[in-house]
């Protein structure tokens, strides 16, 4: 149901003030990216032809292969696990259902360094194999594109899992049961009804996963896999060529748009709406070896994605006690991380409310489309956003003068602003989707009864979009806790977060010492997930369903 059909729009009238507010928010959010982009309108053909005849084709193909592998990996893991836990009954199913979301708390760069430490040539696994089978024993090359794809799939599959679960519970039970009654067996019903109906949600989840994969620097560099994003770093840091680096970033954005276009194409015109309250499909009890297989599948995914890495981190912590020196500093870094995460999460939701609500009040379909632009930061690599924000801080730094408190506050505000620009898509997606749910007639009735936009905002949009906003805020908070390039570029003197701390140690190959902050990040990122899950316990289905809407709106937004 589109809420901006012409009739109600005319009824609600056009409001230039809200057009102004909405476009103002859009301008503020895209400003840093545009600013950096403006610097790149003089392509240096020389460097480009060098890149093109050199590493660029390979970088593009590596990026493509990685995107496909991670896309397929997360699709199989996410969808398969969602089907397993919603349509089957087996020992431990309830615990697995929520535990399988936890890998969202494990940053891919941390999973990556644990993965390599355990599995590379000098790691314990290969060393043990050599001692049993001799020095020539074969082992796959873990520091490879496939290796990164495995690590990223394990840390990103929850996006698809959450969506697939929501789709299975919200959209398909009735149709699935009809298909079963008409004689399809379970597999046929899965193939002919469930998967086609869940397709839009699954595709949306994959888009999120691919954006994260595309803009990742840390994990791919650690595996020495040369993607286009790594190319940006190489050109910027090794060849000292900012302009070309920005142009490469534009190429990344272009790839993102291409992915979204492809997803649109794959999804087709299909739209499926919720029928009735969300519930599980009739669960089939698995017995004997089938139950054992189900448990071991869930168990091994969980082990690989979070249990083994946590155990390894704890082991490092245990074996080098010298690293736990200063817990007050750990607390300081952690509270810095949390402060930024909370501020960015609320900031995203606030601006999202303004943009999404304002676009509706404006009464102009064009403004509504323009409002979607606020999500573009999700497809832009972190350093690009950060450099744009640094330039803007420079403009206003006169205001702070030489007052240190002012300078710090400015810098922290800039940091939160950069996070909002980068992760706005997650907040906007959730808020816009929740507002979509509000029937136009409710709003029209309010308007007819004389309520102006502020009152409609207060009494209809805020309360009704609140739940969706909470889900978006959770996702933003998790991403901010894990984020690295932006905080490294913008933070003021004396301000260290847990992710910066990991980086300081990991960049010197001090893995054991890095275990402390790595554990802190993972445990902290579990807090928002726990809140999210607590919500689901009180109102079964709601949190997952909202998460689903968040994500489905994101791709509409990034577009």
């Amino acid at each position: 149901m589109r809420s901006d059909t012409t009739e109600p729009a005319r009824l609600r009238g056009r409001r230039p003030i809200w057009t102004g507010i909405t476009l103002g928010v859009v301008a503020v959010i895209i400003a840093p990216i545009v600013l950096v982009g403006l610097g790149a309108f003089s392509p240096s053909l020389d460097v480009w032809s060098q890149l093109w005849s050199g590493p660029l084709p390979e970088m593009l193909s590596t990026t493509g292969v990685l995107l496909v592998l991670v896309g397929v990996g997360t699709l199989i893991l996410g969808t398969g696990l969602a089907w397993l836990t919603t349509a089957n009954e087996f020992p431990g199913r309830r615990i697995f259902t929520w535990a399988l979301m936890l890998p969202l708390a494990m940053p891919a760069y941390i999973l990556g360094f644990v993965f390599l430490a355990v599995l590379d040539f000098a790691g314990p696994v290969q060393t043990a194999l050599r001692s049993w089978f001799g020095p020539e024993v074969w082992f796959p090359d873990v520091s490879s594109t496939v290796g990164v794809a495995i690590v990223m799939s394990l840390s990103l599959y929850p996006y698809v899992y959450i969506l697939a679960r929501a789709a299975l519970r919200e959209q398909t039970p009735a149709t699935y049961e009809s298909a079963r009654m008409l004689g399809d067996n379970r597999m046929a019903a899965l193939r002919r009804v469930v998967l086609p109906m869940a397709r839009p949600s699954l595709a949306a989840g994959m888009v999120l996963v691919m954006m994260e994969t595309l803009t990742d620097f840390a994990t791919v560099q650690y595996f020495n896999v040369q993607t286009v994003s790594v190319g940006i770093y190489q050109v910027w840091r090794g060849m000292f060529d900012r302009e070309t680096a920005v142009e490469l970033a534009a190429l990344v954005l272009f790839i993102a748009l291409f992915i979204i276009g492809l997803e649109r194409l794959l999804r087709g015109p299909a739209r499926f709406h919720q029928r009735g309250a969300p519930r599980d499909i009739e669960r089939v009890p698995l017995r004997g070896w089938k139950a054992a297989v189900a448990v071991s599948i869930c168990g091994s995914v969980l082990s690989a994605a979070i249990i083994v890495p946590l155990v390894q981190l704890l082991y490092w912590l245990w074996t080098s006690p010298a690293v736990v020196t200063d817990m007050t500093r750990a607390f300081e870094f952690l509270s810095n991380s949390l402060g930024m995460a909370v501020a960015a999460a609320f900031g995203c939701v606030f601006f999202a409310m303004l943009a999404a609500g304002g676009a509706r009040f404006s009464g102009s379909p064009l403004v509504r489309r323009a409002a979607h632009l606020v999500t573009v930061g999700y497809a832009v690599p972190g350093p690009v956003v950060a450099i744009g924000v640094l330039v803007m801080i420079g403009w206003v730094s006169g205001v702070a003068g030489s007052n240190p408190a002012g300078i710090v506050l400015l810098s922290l505000t800039g940091l939160v602003y950069a996070y909002i620009v980068r992760f706005m898509a997650l907040g906007y997606g959730s808020v816009d989707a929740s507002m979509e749910k509000i029937t136009p007639s409710t709003v029209d009735a309010a308007h007819t009864l004389g309520a102006g936009p502020p009152r409609v905002m207060k009494q209809i949009y805020f309360p009704m979009a609140g739940a969706g906003a909470a889900a978006g805020a959770v996702l933003v908070a998790i991403d901010v806790l894990k984020e690295l390039p932006i905080v490294l570029l913008i933070r003021p003197f004396g301000f260290t977060t847990a992710s910066v701390w990991v980086w300081e140690l990991a960049s010197e190959s001090r893995w054991a010492a890095a275990a402390v902050p790595a554990l802190l990040i993972v445990l902290t990122a579990m807090i928002p997930i726990a809140i999210y899950l607590g919500r689901e316990r009180r109102k079964p289905g709601s949190a997952v369903a909202l998460g689903a809407r968040v994500v489905t709106r994101v791709e509409a937004g990034v577009e």
Partner: protein, 338 residues
């Protein structure tokens, strides 16, 4: 609870948490005299700076970051920067900062003890510790007499036996840039493509290279010397030895971790004093924690690396190979050295 009050509550919460965080940060600005450092270097700096503060009464504030990121930040901040000193882990980023006019000449007569090749000709920056990038080998599988130069590792007899650092790494870039200086672009290209033809295993950090050599995955690699020292500190029996490359020729490749005074520094005098101190009284605490070689000839090398003996250094000025850094990246791209 009415909806709006919860909105107010959250806004209040956000403001409160921001205020709390900034108070904590502002606390650190309380010192009377403070010199502020943007540092790409992390190794045990705190200790050296604390010692400096207690000796001189001048506080040191520092902000870690990647060399290139901090340089970019300096450039963007321009006159507004709070930083006085820019410190990096390699020469290329210092030289680039110098060429972008982000640094100013140091007004000092107290840095004369440092060898000329480690100082910018106009004293825009100075090296404060030496990191030697050399050949590492497993003594059971390689006889020392087999080893000679970086160039020799391009010989086919090393096929399948090499572990090298990736091309995104500044140390690799500096080493290749020095090869370009000595052999010209085409000569260096021949050497690097020889490494590639030898199927060198490319790795993303020096520790992994050394551990792989120790575990038998490669026979020979090229790493910075202090990574080996660090591993030996944990395990004195770690089975890898250093070999000083190119001793019969120009000498082994030496990079520096160094610093310069920022052009827009509020306190150029204090900044210069800190750098002078790090080159003199502070040398030991600056270089020992990370087992680096001091630039000050009066300070002996740290105990662990002292046993490795003396060696001949390539006296090429760091500014020279830094200027060839972009060419080095292009060269490695050209021959498919990842």
């Amino acid at each position: 609870m009415k909806p709006l009050s919860s909105v107010r509550l959250t806004i209040a919460l956000v403001l409160f948490s921001m205020a709390l965080v900034s108070c904590g940060v502002v606390d650190s600005f309380s010192g009377e005299e403070t010199v502020r450092v943007y540092s790409g270097r992390h190794y045990d700096l705190e200790e050296a700076f604390e010692q400096y503060a207690s000796e001189t009464g001048v506080d040191v504030e520092f902000l870690y970051g990647g060399d290139a990121e901090l340089r970019e930040r300096l450039r963007t901040e321009g006159e507004d920067t709070l930083a006085d000193v820019f410190m990096t882990v390699d020469a290329a980023n210092l030289e680039l900062a110098a060429s972008e006019e982000l640094l100013q000449p140091m007004d000092t007569a107290n840095l004369g003890m440092i060898s000329d090749n480690l100082v910018h000709p106009d004293r825009l920056w100075v090296g404060l510790s030496k990191r030697v990038r050399t050949i590492m080998y497993h003594p059971d599988r390689v006889d020392q007499s087999e080893l000679s130069t970086y160039e020799d590792l391009a010989d086919p007899r090393w096929a399948g036996r090499l572990c090298m650092r990736n091309s995104n790494n500044v140390y690799t870039q500096s080493l290749v840039a020095s090869l370009i200086y000595h052999h010209g672009y085409d000569g260096a290209l021949e050497v690097v493509s020889g490494w590639v033809a030898n199927d060198a295993e490319i790795m993303s950090n020096d520790i992994v290279i050394l551990e792989t050599i120790a575990a038998g995955g490669c026979d020979v690699g090229i790493t910075n010397h202090y990574y080996l020292a660090r591993l030996l500190e944990d395990d004195p029996d770690f089975p890898v030895l250093p070999f000083w490359a190119n001793q019969d020729g120009r000498g082994v490749h030496v990079n520096v971790s160094g610093a310069g005074v920022i052009a827009n520094a509020d306190n150029p005098g204090l900044a210069t004093q800190l750098i002078e101190w790090l080159a003199a009284e502070g040398q030991e605490s600056f270089v020992y924690g990370n087992h680096e070689y001091p630039v000050n000839p009066d300070v002996p090398p740290p105990p662990l690396v002292r046993d490795w003996g003396e060696f001949k250094e390539d006296r090429l000025n760091a500014a020279e190979f830094a200027a060839l850094n972009a060419d080095a990246v292009r060269l490695m791209n050209e021959v498919g050295y990842d």
